[in-house]
């Protein structure tokens, strides 16, 4: 057993939002765990029996936790497998990811949940956790076995890319899930308003002759759910906010003291509807890319703390699903390998600090999902990301580990490069710049 191997990470810029730590120092792991950390650690040199990794002044942060990832295994292995997603994740500095239940078969029973965690464990790459579905077969009608799924390790409940359409079902779901003190994650988009819609509703959709999805589609579901939440109690998380209206609804609900949290994804603060350009299907996302005003609002909400987390919203689609007329193409973009660099754009543009970036990408998701992670803290598993925040690179998704290449950031220059990813004290990814 190699559990007693000790590794010293020296000359690191330690970033730990939980303790507000941002300083040069060292970190020591033993086996799977962090056992020491500090600015003065190893000032007199590292003992000979400890393996040394010199970080050369680069950032060392708790491993990123991507709280919204679509995995295509089981069911659509031609788009992504647990292995390819695991490789892509660790290349992106992600040490834990939580997948949506929209696999085939759907994660609405314990057997599938356990299949995925067993398969992921064998790969030994990023830790894979699952949400389970709220309703059986994602049909929006009958509740899944939420209590037993929670016991079996589901981190939360969501119908994935589908919204719970029926208000009564949503009410019962909120109540039932609160019974087990679990979180419900909603894709907030009114299904009637968004039906057949393929992009943001506005001048752009008008010019292109494409059916639009109005921004109010997001706010309407959020408003409805918040009113339900006020009588049911429980924890509600709004996924991938994309609109100014949606942000304002969440902001008010938070002020009212409801247990509501939310995340957004990089496309919604990096891109706007102009990226659709001449029917570029890699920019066909769900929710759709919004106006510049909405993009700015998302950035403000990130800065002022209304948005709790940033998730990749990784949605692999193969060529055949994207090389189609815009309306027929599948929704979604891959995001594991660009999550860090896209978020660091906010840092480079002076919107947020590096610590805040790590808080959004690691600490807050860990807290929301009750994971023992997201911190540089003695005694917890050594899930670490070492990165150079300034290294500039061109996104070329052909070089990505992900099986699908549909990155909406393809051809963009981004800053911030993952150098090494450590999971449970083990280096699972390392590269030179």
């Amino acid at each position: 057993m190699s559990t007693n191997i000790r590794v010293a990470y020296i000359n690191a810029r330690l970033l730990d939002p939980a303790s507000n730590l941002d300083s040069i120092g060292s970190l020591l792991t033993e086996g799977e765990y962090i056992v020491d950390i500090g600015s003065n650690l190893f000032q007199d040199g590292v003992p000979a029996d400890i393996q040394v990794i010199d970080c050369n002044g680069n950032c060392l942060a708790p491993g990123l936790i991507d709280m919204r990832v679509q995995l295509r295994e089981p069911g659509e292995e031609h788009k992504e497998t647990l292995y390819s997603a695991g490789k892509a994740a660790v290349a992106g500095g992600i040490t834990s990811m939580i997948c949506l239940p929209n696999t085939n078969p759907i994660i609405d029973n314990i057997a599938i949940l356990e299949f995925i965690s067993n398969r992921a464990r064998k790969n030994g790459l990023a830790k894979i956790y699952s949400y389970a579905s709220i309703t059986k077969q994602l049909a929006g009608k009958e509740l899944a076995e939420i209590g037993m799924l929670a016991e079996a390790g589901a981190l939360g409940f969501t119908d994935g890319t589908k919204v719970i359409r029926n208000t009564r079902v949503m009410r019962r779901a909120l109540s039932y899930i609160a019974t087990f003190d679990m979180m419900i994650l909603q894709h907030p988009e009114d299904p009637n308003l968004s039906e057949n819609g393929v992009m943001n509703e506005g001048k752009m959709s008008n010019r292109l002759g494409l059916t639009g999805i109005p921004t109010i589609a997001e706010a309407i579901i959020l408003e409805r759910d918040i009113r339900l939440l006020s009588i049911t109690g429980g924890k509600y998380h709004a996924s991938h906010l994309s609109t100014s209206l949606g942000v304002e609804v969440v902001r008010k609900a938070k002020l009212d003291g409801l247990q509501i949290t939310c995340d957004t994804a990089p496309p919604y603060f990096i891109l706007n509807e102009l990226a659709v350009g001449d029917y570029c299907t890699f920019s066909k996302l769900s929710p759709p890319l919004r106006s510049e005003f909405d993009r700015q609002s998302i950035i403000i909400a990130i800065k002022d703390g209304v948005i709790d987390a940033i998730a990749s919203d990784h949605a692999p689609q193969d060529q055949d699903s994207k090389r189609l007329p815009f309306s027929q193409a599948e929704y979604g973009g891959i995001g594991l390998e660009t999550l860090l660099a896209t978020t660091l754009e906010l840092y480079h543009n002076n919107h947020i600090t590096l610590l805040k970036a790590i808080e959004l990408l690691s600490l807050n998701p860990a807290r929301l999902l009750k994971l023992s992670a997201g911190m540089l803290k003695i005694g917890i598993p050594a899930d670490l990301t070492i990165f150079d925040p300034n290294h500039s690179w061109l996104v070329n998704s052909e070089q990505f580990h992900s099986k699908s290449k549909n990155s909406p950031f393809n051809g963009h220059y981004l800053r911030g490069k993952v150098l090494r990813t450590v999971i449970d004290g083990r280096t699972v990814f390392a590269t030179d710049v």
């Binding site: 009958e142 076995e145 209590g147 037993m148 039932y176």
Partner: protein, 315 residues
């Protein structure tokens, strides 16, 4: 024997009763329990009186229990088969009342699927009415027979901790029991998933749990409610096995309660759904059969006080 204190013409619910009224009924019921166990159980207190069982919902045990209670007291008991009667032909509840008035009935026992229907009927008939269950509102004789069962086993009601588990939202049995236990100063705990609990309760001093493993700790009495078939699949509960896993009573969960805790159930039991089958038959804990016996005595008490009051108020 204590002086009888019960002056109502009808028994429509537990809500609004005074502690001494409940105590009086239970004291009287105690006498009938002894009577019913003797060979000469047939009494003639209600000789010449007519009781009608008017059930708008199917029932076997409650109807039979009332029928026996009436017959033990010497009354003539008639069961009105509602499903085959004029109600299914479109007769309104008020028309039914007018019809019944013409028949010179003394006591009417009514079960109805709509909350408040029994009260409406009681305002229109010229006899005493006992509510044998109205919608999701009240089922007072069930609460009284439960109280009698507990009091005979434990000697008192006040200070006991009673856990009521299951579909509280839709249960008239739960509503009547909560009312009665509150009036009698027992501590009430409700244990259920949030989908089966009301969002607000109008009563004070009730503790709510969503987890049997905390809710059952140290309780004296566990009342298990029947979960109706129509709630099993769908929005309220995902499945039978999940419900039993978290909210079904079995030996393991029972360990958390006091060692002499009693298990009660209004019947009929869904074995292996809300209650472990062996546990239902375990006479160390289960008083389910005793509840049925107490039912007849309690209903005899109710019938006899109502006849007395009605005759008295008429004259």
């Amino acid at each position: 024997m204590n002086k009888l204190r019960f002056y109502h013409n009808h028994i429509l619910g537990i809500e609004g009763l005074e502690p001494q009224e409940i105590t009086s009924l239970l004291n009287l019921s105690d006498n009938f329990v002894e009577n019913n166990r003797s060979e000469h159980r047939k009494l003639n207190n209600l000789r010449g009186k007519t009781i009608v069982n008017l059930f708008f919902e199917t029932s076997t045990r409650t109807r039979t229990s009332f029928e026996l209670a009436g017959k033990n007291l010497g009354a003539d008991v008639v069961n009105m088969q509602v499903s085959t009667s004029s109600i299914s032909k479109g007769e309104t509840l008020i028309d039914t009342a007018i019809t019944l008035n013409a028949m010179n009935i003394d006591i009417l026992i009514v079960r109805h699927p709509e909350s408040g229907a029994v009260k409406l009927l009681s305002e229109k008939v010229n006899c005493s009415v006992i509510n044998a269950g109205d919608g999701t509102h009240e089922h007072p004789t069930q609460a009284l027979l439960d109280a009698l069962t507990i009091r005979r086993r434990k000697g008192h009601l006040n200070g006991l901790t009673v856990a009521i588990c299951g579909d509280i939202l839709h249960s008239r049995v739960a509503h009547s029991n909560i009312n009665l236990l509150n009036i009698m100063d027992a501590n009430v705990r409700l244990i259920a998933p949030l989908t089966l609990l009301p969002t607000q309760t109008h009563m004070h001093g009730i503790e709510i749990f969503h987890d049997m493993f905390t809710g059952l700790v140290g309780v004296d009495i566990i009342m298990i409610l029947r979960v109706q078939n129509e709630r099993m699949y769908g929005n309220f509960i995902p499945s039978i096995r999940e419900y039993f896993h978290f909210f079904g009573l079995d030996y393991e969960k029972l360990k958390l309660a006091k060692s002499d805790a009693l298990i009660m159930h209004p019947g009929p039991i869904n074995r292996g759904f809300e209650l472990d089958s062996d546990l239902a038959d375990d006479v160390e804990h289960s008083v389910i059969r005793e509840q049925v016996e107490m039912g007849v005595a309690v209903r005899m008490a109710c019938l006899s006080v109502l006849i007395k009051n009605f005759d008295h108020n008429k004259s």
